[in-house]
Symmetry: D2
Subunit: 293 residues, 4 copies
């Protein structure tokens, strides 16, 4: 797993540079904390599932992962909002960026979602998609041409146009667009990594960061800490959080008190969107109390 780059998007990748600890290190740390108290949990897997379920998070902090990631700047801007990580990013004050920019796959080119204020709706398809892709590529190429012109440096370190002095790197980079790739070393402990993944591998996350999260989850975490991966999928990704009002409705429905469930729903202050989420989570479709009215 070490050093192999897992490709993401058109030019990006995720590469494991180093790691510390494994499933055993989680168990080891938990046994220090709970001492003799954990003896009865005979199996490591069972203990890890218990820790995940009870949100005993500190043992997961005892594992650490260091990744080398290449990613578009607009993805990096979302990613960096997770503060509990260590980062060394390629600096365009010191060095020159490469001519590499993100052009979405045609299937990812979509209009604004009508129902979800932050997401995308239907793919454009056809002629409009082709036109947008051509414009994106053309703009990015011209942007990079201009960047090179501003820098006025040749690859060998010499000057391109001896009649101009060029612009300092820290200024020339201003003209670069958010579609260009940057790269960084990113180091994070397993607990905070799982939190990052629970947000960024989620269906609400933007596609371009979600594919990074999915790659880290499926290619790295699954191999590195298989028991923690399984517990995370069962208790975090695959689970759901019910609110107080949602729980009341479910309890009434399970007890066969349909009328009460309907009344609870009406009086519970459950927002319409929250109700739709509940219906979807519990597979209530045809069964929806409101539909009975």
């Amino acid at each position: 797993m070490l050093y192999t780059p897992f490709p993401v998007l058109d030019h990006g990748f995720v590469r494991v540079v180093d790691y510390m600890g494994d499933d055993g290190a989680i168990v080891q740390a938990a046994r220090v904390s709970y001492g003799r108290g954990t003896r009865r949990v005979s199996q490591d897997r069972g203990l890890i599932r218990y820790l995940m379920r009870q949100r005993h998070t500190t043992p997961f902090e005892m594992c650490e992962l260091k990744l080398h990631v290449k990613l578009p700047i607009f993805v990096a801007r979302q990613w960096i909002r997770h503060r509990t990580a260590n980062v060394n990013e390629y600096s365009a004050r010191y060095s020159i960026l490469d001519r590499e920019f993100y052009i979405p796959d045609e299937r990812q080119l979509a209009g604004q979602s009508a129902s979800n204020r932050q997401g995308r709706g239907e793919p454009l398809g056809g002629a409009e998609a082709a036109r947008v892709l051509a414009l994106l590529r053309e703009d990015a190429e011209r942007t990079y041409d201009r960047y090179e012109e501003f820098l006025n440096e040749r690859p060998d370190g010499g000057v391109r146009d001896p009649d101009r002095s060029g612009l300092a790197r820290e200024l020339a980079r201003m003209s670069i667009s958010l579609a260009f790739y940057t790269q960084w070393y990113w180091k994070i402990d397993l607990h905070n990594l799982l939190h990052f993944l629970s947000l960024r591998a989620d269906a609400h996350a933007q596609y371009e960061i979600r594919v990074y999260a999915e790659t880290i989850l499926d290619e790295v975490v699954r191999r590195w800490v298989p028991a923690a991966y399984e517990a995370f999928c069962d208790y975090r990704l695959g689970g759901a959080h019910l609110s107080r009002g949602g729980l009341d409705v479910v309890r009434a429905l399970l007890a066969g008190r349909r009328d009460e469930a309907e009344a609870l729903r009406a009086g519970s202050g459950l927002a319409p969107r929250e109700w739709r989420e509940l219906v979807e989570t519990l597979g209530l479709e045809g069964d929806e109390p409101a539909a009975q009215a």
Copy 2:
């Protein structure tokens, strides 16, 4: 609310020294983030509930609370594990601790729980309780006598016994027990405060820290940010998290497929303890599929 000490335990208190922001500041920050996108959420309360439900946590970080807390050292040792806060604790290297120690109320004196490895079981009651309380008090008094003897300082700064040189404060404090009170200024943002409260106002938390959490929640948070308080109670404290396996069982039960629910339960890898929690959460008692077998 400012400056009034809310008493906790026998000598402790929680006192608001300062705060920054309120429900309006949460909304204000969210509207910066989501810009025009939040216009449709017409009411502040609705927006705050949406943010809490969707775990959009950063707007809650825009409120800050500073408390003055007096608490037993063993409680302080649990409390300090929450790292995202600012703390100035009374230092026994510089100053002399007061003769104040925690003696539990008789109703809180309990033996080790048989079922819960970390908690307490039945109250001792009667003669045993009286004996334990007397010993606790006697030990604490003698401990403080010895501390004073080691310090060899009079309240006016003079020397108690001129034939001895006394022990440095940073050493004399070693003899103090974990029942003694310390105090600190503790400053934290609302998001991290709510996370602290969700763990420490929980039924699994030790009684002696839980009463601090409940005081902060009911006396401070409820008055300071009423909309955030309400959303927190509905979506965090009063809600429940269902695992992937638990969700499968609930879906089958709601669809009236009892046999499938039972099979799912058997094959799901739900730990016995997890199943008991699910039964309790959903009020399944008499209804428990296993009980039908």
Copy 3:
């Protein structure tokens, strides 16, 4: 001071939204920590200077500042690297960015520094500067035109070109360059703010972030916590750190042992750049031991 925007660069600003604490809060927190021990420091100013000198940082964490900042994206990318702060940034997934981009003042347009790998050298001046400015403006305008075309939205929320479906906001923003302005709410405690300012108000910081740091320092911190400001200027900004080798040289020079200073310098492993910094810091110019050889 509250709410007044202090202008920075061509379209940016810094605006105080809220604050908590002042010089008195620093002193108050220190007196909790050091208890009776601080009674002898009769004046608040003296205590604050002592805390700053001895790097007792926690009392400074008891003050909190919330700013509204408008800044170019490339500045925001440097700024966000300071992790111990709370941030709510305007989101271009939800909302549409304004047509506002940074065009440097002509005096700031400079080539790459020959001596400093990360900075700028001489201003371009004259015709080259005029040409670069025109190109920067032209590129930014065209970038924004394209962004609007991709969005295909009218200000009233309607559609510009009914024959196209437009691009989702989260995708259209890719074409924006790093020169465009974003804005955020940024909340930080005084200790971490001073650390940020010590790095970003420094001469090595890029001009475009330095002017923000200087504005915060001179317009906000100086008024908000005057004693802490003065101590910060005296002990951090105006001070200097000498290495072990540098100290040895200074001690020899102060003792009048010039030969030894020269030998120490030769054998000390002081890097040439380090030596130049020492010479500059101590005003040794004409006095430089090496120059005597």
Copy 4:
């Protein structure tokens, strides 16, 4: 180095459980950040010294260390104040503490310092020391006897006195004193570790935590990352920070302007304590301007 416990105090130890990265990882991360810009720094050691001197801290964050530490509770209380670390501590809610407590070496038994409000003065020595040591030992033994009595558990898990129900572990621990040993796993990145060591290996730190810091520095850091260790000793531990006023005085003295130095000192607002520190740092003793007056 792995797993070997380095003994500290009478029953404590520091043991390396795991580590990630080395000097090479610091260099690797720096080269990602500064890209081609660092090519000219031909040697790793030179680059590490440059990073340490310029306080480019993020590359040092790319190394991580996990220690198993056994330490008295009053030391743990100081230690935990460093928040940027991961901790799993032995829990006395779940488990029973051992009969192990700290008794200082006779040479460490000292009275309160007259000059330093937070430290110790002269060793007690002789009869008083012997008496204090006997009391410390007697008190700790009695404390543990009482703890065992409260628990009412036999080592085999059975009950000691069948007529009593015993006290829950989470309550019985209250009677333990701060001299008793606890243990934890502590994981931290190299940058934050060096910050911890700069404060805790300092002469102002309490002896009992300083010996842990010195052990980590000399036994672990020196072997693990020798180039970073050397740079840390040269630029942090062995260096000194001069204030603006201190620098002015030094500049005047170096330029041979004694009168001006004396005037600067008088007018500089240098606190008396600050001046004493400067005199000591620069070896000015006999040379002190004030002494000339």
